[in-house]
């Protein structure tokens, strides 16, 4: 019987400002990691300004009240590290990892960049040109195009999650300094933010250090706007969108349906059934598509779970000639699985697999900080990690079957996304559901 994993020594403190402080001690390697999460994810992009959260986060390092972009680069990179900037649906996170003896410098640098950006006019203009060039350049990568299509179609354009984090060309073209300034002032607040530090010192010392450095900076305090509406629109039937990329010899395929948020009571059964369906190397779909038929190199299903909603996504690719076969096998297997759920063996395997590998996600300072911070911010609490293994082991066949039925990527309302040759996609899908073919440039 696999036991639960003891978390390393840690402390959590709620500061009067509304900031949550998290300090974790890890002595394995003499490294210090700091992670600041603020509620400034892509979901917060104002209507008509898709991509503003990412644009603002990218601009933070292009100048502060104390130094220009070159000075910021020198401040951070002289420590032998790069500033991590991650914009997810719910959060913007800034991260730094440095040798332990540079912990004070790292904290100061990260707080300066996050809280004192100056958004110089010429840097805003230059960032706008860079973002537009990147949006166009990304169209050369079929899997990037597919990822953009999945969030856009999966959530729907009305939904706060329903656009790619990097936004759309038409919106990015309108970005001005005032947009970034306003977004920063209203979203980079202490309330709802979390500062995590991981180092070799005891947690109390790490907390003291964080508080001492925080005393040197001021948070923006503009009021946040009204809460967002995350309700999903009901969908019926199935439809397909083919994004035409000329001269492709291979087609990227995604099958997308509504999923669940991370706080769903279905979380554990869903993770287990999804693993049996399309996780690891021995799932039902890997067996059917890769091992038995040699149709693809990569096959998976994924539950993309954000704080307020989620998607259930099948992903694979195959040569043009076998696209229809891939779609048929995937739909048939997923529909069958939605009726039966995992077999007894597959259920046991999925539970052991997830429980056995769970500690891998806590090994590095970066992963540990992210996992604990997300558990706190999503309202799951430390128990989510501390009892993860025993809760996985407790998932029953009935629970897994119910989750499989509810979350199958192949159910009413599903969207099929193909990135590849337009005619190939149309021919393969035309008698399955209505098909729309568009140039990939429409997705920029």
């Amino acid at each position: 019987m696999i036991k639960d994993v003891a978390l390393p020594p840690l402390q959590i403190a709620q500061e009067p400002s509304g900031l949550t402080l998290l300090a974790i001690q890890r002595r394995a390697v003499p490294l210090f990691h700091v992670r600041l999460s603020v509620p400034a994810g892509a979901a917060e992009d104002p209507r008509g300004k898709a991509g503003l959260a990412q644009f603002t986060a990218d601009l933070l390092r292009r100048g502060t009240m104390r130094r220009d972009a070159r000075g910021v680069d020198e401040l951070i990179e002289s420590m032998g590290t790069g500033l991590g900037i991650e914009v997810s649906l719910d959060e913007a996170a800034l991260t730094l990892t440095v040798p332990s003896d540079l912990s004070v410098r790292a904290l100061d640098a990260l707080l300066e960049v996050a809280l004192e950006p100056s958004f110089p006019d010429e840097e805003v203009a230059s960032a706008r040109r860079r973002t537009l060039a990147s949006l166009q350049s990304d169209l050369d990568e079929p899997s990037s195009v597919a990822a953009r299509a999945v969030v856009t179609l999966g959530y729907g354009a009305h939904h706060p999650y329903g656009h790619p984090a990097h936004g759309f060309r038409r919106d990015v073209e309108t970005f001005q300094r005032e947009d970034a300034l306003g977004f920063h002032a209203s979203r980079f607040n202490a309330r709802g933010a979390l500062l995590a530090v991981v180092g070799t010192a005891p947690p109390e010392q790490l907390l003291d250090l964080a508080r001492e450095r925080l005393a040197q900076v001021r948070w923006p305090s503009e009021a946040r706007r009204a809460p967002l509406d995350f309700a999903a629109l009901p969908r019926e039937g199935m439809r397909a969108l083919v994004w035409h990329k000329p001269d492709s010899t291979q087609a990227q395929l995604r099958i997308v349906a509504t999923g669940i948020p991370r706080r769903s009571p279905l979380y554990m059964p869903a993770v287990v059934e999804n693993t049996a369906l399309g996780g690891g190397f021995t799932s039902l779909l890997v067996d059917a598509i890769r091992v038995d038929r040699g149709l693809s190199y990569s096959v998976s299903t994924r539950l993309a779970m954000a704080r307020h909603a989620g998607l259930s996504v099948f992903s694979s690719f195959t040569k043009n000639e076998t696209l229809r076969e891939l779609v048929d096998v995937a739909l048939e297997k997923m529909r069958g699985y939605a009726r039966t759920g995992p077999s007894k063996d597959a259920l046991e395997k999925a539970r052991s697999y997830l429980a056995g590998l769970f500690p891998l996600g806590l090994e590095s300072n970066e992963a540990l900080a992210e996992q604990v911070a997300d558990a706190i911010l999503d309202g799951l609490g430390l128990d989510h990690l501390a009892t993860y293994r025993s809760r996985i082991a407790a998932v029953t066949a009935a629970q897994a079957r119910q989750a499989a039925e509810q979350l199958s990527p192949a159910r009413d309302g599903t969207q099929i996304v193909v990135v590849g040759d337009g005619e190939v996609g149309r021919k393969a899908l035309t008698d399955i559901c209505p098909v729309d073919v568009r140039p990939i440039e429409d997705l920029a």
């Binding site: 490294l31 790069g82 230059s126 050369d140 492709s248 010899t249 429980a355 891998l360």
Partner: protein, 427 residues
């Protein structure tokens, strides 16, 4: 500052059949990683069977005497583990990350396939199709992949580094079961392998188990010599790819010494100064100041034989490739012509040192790092001195190596020109 050997209580053993064993217990989390490094990669191939090393990596998951088809991963995942592998120009590495309790099973699975792999026509045919899909994904429909393939074929004329690790499509169709069997007998013998176990286990028990399971596997014959004979490069070489794309791109390559040469460390630092972080020379000049590129990256990896220092520029849509090319050569000339400031060199050293430390945070990272040192430098201990060796590099070293590496007659350049495929060329 050198790494402290007390932090790496590695136990070293060599079995009678030549298998090298390295054990590094760490009771931190209830997990472990087993790596098996075989000293075989695409450099050990010949024209006609290019890609066999990588195809063979796939075949290693298709059953052995004790564990039939599909059983390897099924048993492993059922015990709380996962596996994967990669093939490079020089090595093929297999690894398992697993719950500590699964160690006996993992050793049984790995040793069984080394002792008695099944190679049959059906599984070969299926894996051949899977690998062809992988090739379509990573090369035929991927700009970076197709440029990388073109650059290797340009920079190397005689050495096997000339062909792609995944192999040419026509060779993938040609490889036979007999080719695979021969390959297995030759390169998958215990005397061509180093296994590394890192994580939560008892070293004495683990060693006994390894001796029992691997000890009876027969030693293999001496390895065939690699068909080296690369002539010196006497002038700049260029290739052009026409393909439907949103923007042009450049991929430059310069031949380098092998990974055991001290100058490889200098090239690591040049790589860091050119491309690590947003303030790196190429990013600052070409992405931010001149706005020629969306991204500028450098890749230099140590190889067994003289390798390649690669620079990739994804140009902004509409930028003239000739302009970006001139800007790139100017930046490289600056490294060669002017001594690098101490602060900038120290920045590069700090990046490399942090990277080394970050790689040691996980059991997988420690096992992989030590394994790479074993196969590339001959001993995991070489790792301990690396920080000191990097620290000893001077601005004069950087200038000397840059001057000899980036000389104009040593340039290899692939240019991607957006547009239709040339007439008569099938997609």
């Amino acid at each position: 500052m050198a790494l402290d050997p007390r932090d790496f209580p590695v136990q070293e053993h060599v079995l009678a059949n030549g298998l090298q064993v390295r054990l590094l217990p760490d009771r931190g989390l209830p997990i472990a990683t087993l790596y098996s490094f075989f000293r075989v990669g695409s450099r050990n191939e010949r024209p006609g069977i290019t890609g066999i090393s990588h195809l063979f990596e796939h075949m290693m998951f298709n059953g052995s005497k004790k564990y039939g088809p599909k059983e390897f991963d099924r048993r492993l995942e059922s015990a709380g583990g996962t596996s994967n592998a990669y093939t490079s120009t020089d090595v093929t590495a297999y690894y398992e990350d697993f719950a500590a309790e699964a160690l006996p099973l993992v050793l049984d699975l790995e040793s069984d396939r080394m002792a008695s792999l099944n190679i049959d026509d059906d599984s070969l045919q299926r894996e051949r199709e899977v690998v062809k899909e992988e090739r379509r994904f990573r090369t035929d429909n991927d700009l970076d992949g197709m440029m990388d393939e073109a650059l290797s074929a340009l920079a190397f004329q005689a050495h096997p580094y000339r062909w792609p690790v995944v192999g040419w499509m026509s060779d993938l169709n040609r490889i036979t079961r007999q080719d695979c069997e021969r390959y297995f007998r030759t390169y998958y013998a215990p005397n061509n392998c180093t296994v590394l176990l890192v994580g939560d286990f008892d070293a004495d028990h683990a060693l006994k188990r390894i001796e029992t399971l691997y000890g009876a596997i027969a030693r293999g014959d001496p390895l065939p010599e690699v068909a080296d004979g690369e002539p010196p490069q006497k002038g700049e070489r260029r290739a052009v790819i026409h393909y439907p794309a949103q923007a042009p791109a450049l991929l430059a390559g310069f031949r380098t010494p092998n990974g055991r040469q001290a100058d490889s460390l200098v090239l690591d630092l040049i790589e860091a100064s050119l491309s690590y972080g947003e303030g790196a020379r190429l990013k600052r000049a070409l992405v931010y100041e001149q706005e020629l590129c969306v991204d500028a990256n450098v890749y230099f990896g140590w190889r067994m034989d003289p390798g390649l220092f690669q620079i990739s520029l994804k140009l902004n849509p509409g930028v003239d490739p000739a302009r970006a090319e001139s800007a790139l050569w100017a930046e490289l000339a600056r490294v060669a012509d002017q001594p690098m400031a101490e602060a900038e060199l120290q920045r590069a050293k700090n990046f490399v040192r942090s990277g080394l430390l970050r790689g040691l945070q996980t059991a997988n990272g420690r096992a992989h790092t030590l394994g790479q040192m074993e196969v590339m430098l001959g001993s995991w201990r070489a790792f301990l001195d690396l920080p000191d060796r990097y620290q000893a590099v001077t601005p004069a070293d950087v200038q000397r190596v840059a001057k000899s590496t980036f000389a104009p007659h040593r340039r290899n350049l692939v240019t991607l020109v957006p547009g239709e495929l040339p007439e008569g060329v099938a997609a």
